[in-house]
């Protein structure tokens, strides 16, 4: 997730500073208790980031996916309790579909609705959703799939392991406020959301790694910092390998979204980042001991968000099955070509 342009670096740095000041275990507990981080949301809104992936001619910031790696990483590192990543994805998908992107970019859901005539139906989970706000969703499948902008009805709070707000709503023959053919045959929003979640996961994982290193160097046991023990060093090395792989997968997916958006690139990112969650958090907790599970400690929150995020927008098992089935159908002779193509080779 290297940032190629000054703008991108600047934005990520701004976000880092803001989150470093405002996001802590106390704020997260408040949000979990049902109190939205309204002030924080307003400040982020003011940075104009929700329109990051919308082209300049459509009123956006015109950043490329490969430029927002730092932003996603920041969102993950601080497990920021707001729907910025999802709104960036929604803005990108709307612009790509030729829809007009409102300045107040809608929320997004990875759930696929059904399309009957012009009306949409089905159940959707909306991160940070609230009745009356707007959400972008995918309706229908394949060539007939559309991106639909909907007003969020009353719903109920879905209990989750991350405990960030998730609104569960039911659309029954709802009339979209706007719609357009999905530019990726029904894959645009699911792919974009998988990539942003993978980016957040990579950020949170690299944070857990950094915390483990830091704790290893400061926590003293048996007369020396625990990071001096070979067993701890090797655990952290294992963690570092997973974190690096997750980050590399996100990097290639971001590039892929710029060059030739596909569900395959998104799958690689979400699978690889998802696979890293369990080993990285297991080691982080092993290094931290009991302190890491207490709600005062950020690792407590990082871990629960990681568990939440890996399940959302397609978990690594679901994406692996899809990627695997396609590869098996393609035959062994094509397999290496697939690996090369998945990682951006030609």
């Amino acid at each position: 997730m290297s940032l190629d342009t000054d703008t991108a670096t600047l934005l990520a740095d701004q976000l880092d500073r803001l989150f470093a000041q405002k996001v802590d275990a106390k704020l997260l507990r408040k949000v979990e208790a049902g109190e939205p981080a309204a002030a924080l949301e307003a400040e982020v809104e003011a940075l104009g980031l929700t329109l990051a992936l919308v082209p300049e001619e459509a009123g956006g910031a015109g950043l490329a996916w490969s430029e927002i790696g730092g932003v996603l990483e920041s969102l993950g590192r601080f497990v920021a309790p707001l729907a910025l990543a999802e709104r960036m994805a929604a803005g990108w998908a709307m612009a790509k579909a030729g829809m007009e992107v409102p300045e107040d970019v809608p929320l997004a859901t990875w759930d696929r609705l059904t399309l009957s005539g012009d009306k949409v139906s089905g159940t959707a989970t909306i991160p940070f959703g609230r009745p009356g706000a707007k959400v972008l969703a995918t309706a229908g499948e394949g060539e007939a799939a559309k991106l639909v902008l909907l007003e969020i009805p009353e719903g109920r709070a879905l209990p989750t392991i991350g405990r960030d707000p998730r609104l569960l709503v039911e659309f029954a023959s709802a009339a979209p406020l706007a719609s357009a053919p999905d530019p990726m045959g029904g894959e645009a929003l699911p792919a974009a959301l998988a990539v942003v979640r993978a980016g957040q996961i990579a950020g949170a994982i690299n944070h857990a790694l950094a915390e483990s290193i830091d704790y290893g160097n400061t926590r003293v046991q048996f007369g020396r910092p625990i990071g001096k023990f070979q067993a701890i060093q090797h655990l952290v090395a294992e963690q570092a390998g997973e974190a690096a792989a997750a980050k590399a997968a996100v990097q290639l997916a971001l590039r892929g979204m710029d060059e030739a958006p596909s569900w395959q690139a998104a799958a690689v990112a979400k699978i690889r980042a998802g696979l890293a969650v369990e080993p990285v958090s297991a080691v982080a907790h092993a290094v931290h001991g009991a302190i890491g599970v207490t709600e005062e400690h950020m690792l407590h929150h990082t871990t629960r968000r990681l568990w939440q995020w890996r399940d959302e927008a397609g978990d690594e098992n679901a994406w692996s099955e899809r990627l695997g089935r396609a590869a098996i159908a393609g035959g062994g002779g094509e397999l290496w070509k697939t690996v090369v193509a998945l990682s951006g080779g030609r």
């Binding site: 290193i213 060093q233 090797h234 997968a249 994406w319 692996s320 062994g332």
Partner: protein
């Protein structure tokens, strides 16, 4: 804080698709000649005619200066060639070590005479090199080597033993890490690298059969071998530093996660032949693809670092750590997804190749440095202290 390792994205050269197509065409001619057993040996497999053909195409010493037989292409172009070779399981053993390590070392620190003599031979696929690091009494602890080169007039006299040298019995030359001054207690000090022509009197090579029943390893004994003044590679006493930076080349390449890859196409076909794949098969294949793609991304990034003249020592350790985990899992994956009809039998292309890979897999995590060594390097790189 960001990740402690840097894998900055790189731009592949425009020639990539064309070069890749050329290599694939070349391999399509050659690979049908190799058995699954041989393909399962990846870069330890050796075929002189094949290496000469690769050399004739200009695919050995690709980044080296033309004056030494090289082709002055980028590390990224070289990357394309070698990953295609490895993915196909081509028997690159006759030129592999020279192309990857010995040649670059000679080019960097060797004398003009050494360069003129050896580099063109390497580029044509005629010179096979091996590396003399481990000794019977020093496994991972390379600083404790006892093989000694003593000044003798203009040249040197060499005595001692090197072990686990891959393909020494096929090699013309070895670059060995030896002691030129001090004793084992001096550790890194007093170590130098010397280039030994293996046809010299006093050199004895004993083959060591490994799990496959074949002898890829050797023990090489030096009994008072007379070396010329030109045997020293680089600076006397700088052998440790030279050798360690050489190892970074060894660790970062795609051979650290592609040795077992040739199993995968056969496995995929076997799964497909059995009908609609179930969750177990589909997940395992999809997951493996994602892991491979991420590893390839990291590995390409280190090739970019080489092009920029940066040292990917830390990143190479990460790639080896993550790559070897995947690689060692592959023969197990084959067994889990495609159980053979005859228990324990190694008949059929997939079973035969699997047996070759499985029996080498325990050494995947040894070559280029054990896991313990890699993790120590990573911990140090991350500032655990």
């Amino acid at each position: 804080m960001s990740s402690p390792f840097r894998f900055d994205p790189v731009q592949m050269p425009d020639v990539e698709p064309q070069l890749r197509a050329e290599v694939r065409e070349f391999l399509a001619e050659w690979t049908p000649k190799f058995t699954p057993w041989k393909i399962g040996h990846s870069w330890t497999g050796l075929d002189r005619e094949f290496s000469k053909a690769v050399g004739a195409r200009g695919w050995i010493g690709m980044t080296w200066p033309r004056e030494y037989g090289g082709h002055e292409r980028s590390a990224l172009e070289r990357y394309v060639v070698i990953e295609e070779m490895l993915a196909a399981g081509a028997p690159v053993g006759a030129h592999w070590i020279a192309d990857r390590q010995s040649g670059p070392l000679i080019l960097r620190v060797g004398t003009e005479t050494q360069k003129k003599k050896w580099l063109p031979l390497i580029c044509s696929g005629e010179a096979t090199f091996c590396i003399g690091l481990s000794e019977p009494d020093s496994g991972s602890d390379l600083a404790s080597v006892r093989t000694r080169a003593t000044r003798d007039g203009d040249g040197w006299r060499l005595s001692g033993r090197k072990i686990w040298t891959t393909n020494a019995h096929h090699a013309q030359a070895m670059i060995a890490l030896v002691r030129t001054s001090g004793g084992p207690d001096d550790r890194h000090k007093g170590l130098s690298q010397v280039l030994v022509d293996l046809s010299l009197p006093g050199v004895e090579i004993r083959r060591i059969a490994d799990m496959t029943g074949e002898a890829h390893f050797n023990e090489v004994t030096f009994d008072d071998v007379q070396l010329g003044p030109d045997a020293l590679v680089g600076v006397e006493g700088a052998g440790w530093a030279q050798g360690m930076s050489e190892l970074a080349f060894e660790r970062s390449g795609p051979d650290r996660f592609l040795s077992a890859f040739p199993l995968m196409p056969l496995l995929v076909d076997e799964i497909a032949a059995a009908g609609e794949p179930d969750r177990l098969s589909a997940r395992a294949i999809g997951r493996t693809l994602a892991e491979l793609a991420a590893l390839r991304e990291m590995s390409v990034c280190t090739a970019g670092m080489l092009d920029r003249g940066e040292d990917p020592a830390q990143e190479a350790a990460v790639i080896k750590e993550v790559g070897v985990t995947l690689e060692q899992r592959m023969p197990e994956m084959v067994r889990d997804l495609a159980p053979g009809a005859l228990p324990g039998a190694v008949e059929g292309d997939l079973a035969e190749m699997r047996a070759a890979v499985a029996q080498q897999a325990p050494t995947f995590s040894l070559r280029g440095g054990t896991r313990e060594i890699m993790r120590g390097i990573m911990a140090k790189g991350m500032g655990l202290r």
